[in-house]
């Protein structure tokens, strides 16, 4: 019923420059995520850290096709999408450290990153809860007649929440400009999604609402770009919602400290071979668009940027106690 969308190995989808920009984004997220682990280990943040390493191509593929004023809702695992949508890594680190220069002045934390200036309506700690909210932003866009599109990212496990069902139905009957992006990384926390649904492809679920659905290799950034671009165009042209299931894998545990007893090292290693950044880098090198050296240089520059942002966050102040009582309403 479904064909896995993949890119053409023999040629790039975008120009050399655009491809490089995409690679840069991928690496930025990766470096940011690696630094986040250091941050967490240093005891500089509260709560839990839900990493995105391995899934970067989904965020970058989708967000690269969006305008600044398009809307997004995401989950606790969301710094990747934030960066891809254009968020400041300074403010992200600062928020993770609970500092006053953070996106939410340190009051939200990593699970609640919000940046209204880039349409980033808010990360969510409740599985599935962002899905109807993004649908509502799409409702706004349609009602106001802007051509904005709303996208919501969620995991495979979220498709078992009641609101998922309710929101998809609403989006369908009202033909709202929303794109549902399901990042199927095979697990919801420690539970294999295969045990939790009867469906091989979660995309099947969208068909029950008459929503066009595709499955895509979520580690193939170009393939993601392509299906996202089609979905977004459909939404912008009043064609209603689309469901994208991106098959991917998180290379780290669900959260830092996860014992990962539910999967084998072999499985993880197999997927590491399909690392989205490696794949895209290799392709560009093979096709002669970039060189190893260029990539190394790029990585190094990004590392410096990330380090600088980290230092900025470290030096940012604690929020004032007065902040406790502001923003309640």
């Amino acid at each position: 019923m479904f064909n896995l969308e993949v890119s053409d190995p023999a040629k790039l989808l975008f120009s050399k420059d655009d491809s490089l920009r995409i690679l840069e984004q991928l690496i930025t997220i990766r470096k940011f995520e690696e630094k986040s682990i250091e941050l967490y280990k240093s005891g500089l943040m509260g709560g839990s850290l839900h990493g995105y390493i391995g899934q970067e191509a989904v965020a970058v593929g989708v967000c690269s096709q969006l305008n600044k004023d398009d809307y997004l809702t995401v989950t606790y695992r969301s710094r990747g999408q934030a960066i891809a949508k254009g968020a400041s890594i300074e403010k992200l680190f600062a928020e993770m450290m609970g500092k006053v220069d953070g996106y939410c002045k340190g009051k939200g934390g990593p699970m609640h990153i919000t940046d209204l200036e880039i349409g980033f309506l808010g990360a969510n700690g409740i599985v599935g809860a962002g899905i109807p909210i993004a649908t509502g932003a799409a409702f706004s866009a349609k009602k106001k007649g802007t051509s904005q599109v709303s996208v919501t990212f969620f995991g495979d496990g979220a498709t078992n929440q009641g609101v998922f069902h309710e929101a998809l139905n609403l989006a369908s009957i009202w033909k709202l400009p929303v794109v549902f992006v399901c990042e199927n990384n095979l697990y919801s926390e420690m539970s294999p999604i295969a045990d939790m649904v009867p469906n091989e492809h979660l995309a099947e679920r969208a068909l029950a609402y008459h929503i066009p659905a595709v499955i895509v290799d979520g580690n193939d950034v170009e393939a993601v770009c392509k299906v996202a671009q089609e979905a977004i165009e459909r939404a912008r042209n009043n064609g209603g919602p689309t469901f994208i299931e991106a098959k991917t894998y998180r290379q780290q545990g669900h959260m830092f400290g996860d014992a990962e007893t539910y999967r084998t090292k072999e499985e993880v290693n197999e997927w590491k071979k399909k690392d989205p950044i490696q794949l895209f880098t290799n392709k560009q090198i093979e096709l002669g668009y970039i060189t190893d050296e260029l990539v190394e240089q790029l990585s190094h520059e990004i590392e410096l940027k990330v380090e600088k942002a980290y230092q900025f966050a470290l030096n940012s102040e604690q929020p004032n106690y007065d902040e406790i009582f502001t923003d309640v309403f």
């Binding site: 919000t114 109807p132 649908t135 932003a137 409702f139 706004s140 609101v163």
Partner: protein
């Protein structure tokens, strides 16, 4: 110019004016459109403003409240009807984990100007799942305002203010009040949230209540008057914000206080009033504060049992006498 209209008509007028004056407002709910709502509160609005402004929804309360949140965050002002307050329980994550917390979690970036109109209370033999008084549940959560009007005048004026707020408001009507009549001016007016209203001046005892229990308290005051007891009746109008000052000021004059609500007594909101009064006016109290509330059982179907479970005028009279040590428990 004032005229006598019903509580339901007053709400209808308020909605009519709000829809007329503010293009960003739209109504969302089950059977509120063509049919005009099962309590006829939205009667005529669909014909007047069309299906784009007065929208019938599927039975997906989580979904369409979530959609309302997304719409509210992006510039619209949804006024949502939840047909019975008991049904808010299927959607309470969206109300209390999402709408109520977004402003705070985002450091003040996301505002959710969303009004949820609903109706609660017993008295019609609707049984345990259709008779609850849940205002105290909502008031436990910072981030939402909770309004419970008792008269046609108040319901119109408070609804207009509620829609003008820049935060989520739970607006709780009472099913037994819809057909009660009262004076409502023809001129435009609104009533600010957070101002209690002294519905009767008195000097011997303060009775604090809201919603349907205000009329019961006024009736009790009439009974008491016959026996030479002069009761002051305070209508809180809203639980959040809570105008405790008006209560304290009154108690300092009367030295006796009875709190009346239809919610269950134990862990009901009356306890908050008790706590604040004994804290701020301890030395003024001539005796314990008495609470009158529903018995701590689900609301029974049988109309006689239901009456016995819910507070009645006679219970208020008795409580006042107890507070005045005229009758001993």
């Amino acid at each position: 110019m004032t005229r006598q209209i019903t509580y339901a008509e007053a709400i209808n007028e308020a909605l009519d004016e709000i829809l007329r004056d503010d293009e960003s407002v739209f109504l969302l709910g089950e059977d509120i459109g063509h049919y005009g709502g099962v309590f006829k509160v939205t009667k005529g609005l669909y014909d007047k403003f069309g299906g784009d402004r007065v929208i019938d929804t599927p039975i997906s309360e989580s979904g369409f409240i979530g959609l309302g949140i997304g719409a509210a965050m992006t510039g619209l002002k949804p006024v949502i009807e939840i047909m019975w307050i008991d049904f808010t329980l299927v959607a309470i994550d969206q109300i209390l984990n999402q709408a109520a917390k977004f402003s705070y979690m985002s450091g003040g970036q996301s505002k959710v100007p969303l009004v949820i109109r609903t109706q609660g209370g017993g008295g019609r033999g609707n049984g345990a799942q259709h008779s609850q008084s849940l205002e105290g549940l909502f008031a436990q959560f910072p981030g939402v305002k909770v309004v419970c009007p008792s008269t046609p005048y108040d319901v119109k004026g408070l609804l207009k203010s509620s829609v003008a707020e820049n935060c989520p408001v739970i607006f709780i009507e009472h099913k037994m009040l819809y057909n009660t009549k009262g004076e409502v001016p023809e001129e435009d007016y609104s009533i600010p949230l957070g101002k209690a209203d002294i519905k009767r001046k008195g000097s011997d005892v303060t009775i604090v209540s809201l919603s349907r229990m205000v009329q019961f308290s006024l009736n009790a005051a009439k009974e008491l008057e016959k026996e030479g007891i002069d009761a002051e009746i305070i209508d809180l109008r809203s639980l959040a914000p809570l105008d405790i000052e008006t209560v304290i000021e009154s108690v300092k004059r009367t030295n006796r206080i009875v709190v009346v609500h239809e919610a269950h007594t134990t862990f009901g909101w009356g306890a908050e009033i008790v706590s604040r009064v004994q804290q701020d006016a301890f030395d003024y109290l001539d005796g314990p504060i008495i609470r009158v509330g529903a018995e701590d059982v689900p609301i029974p179907y049988n109309l006689e049992l239901e009456k016995e479970v819910l507070p009645q005028v006679k219970d208020i009279v008795k409580a006042v006498k107890e507070a005045l040590y005229i009758e001993v428990k």
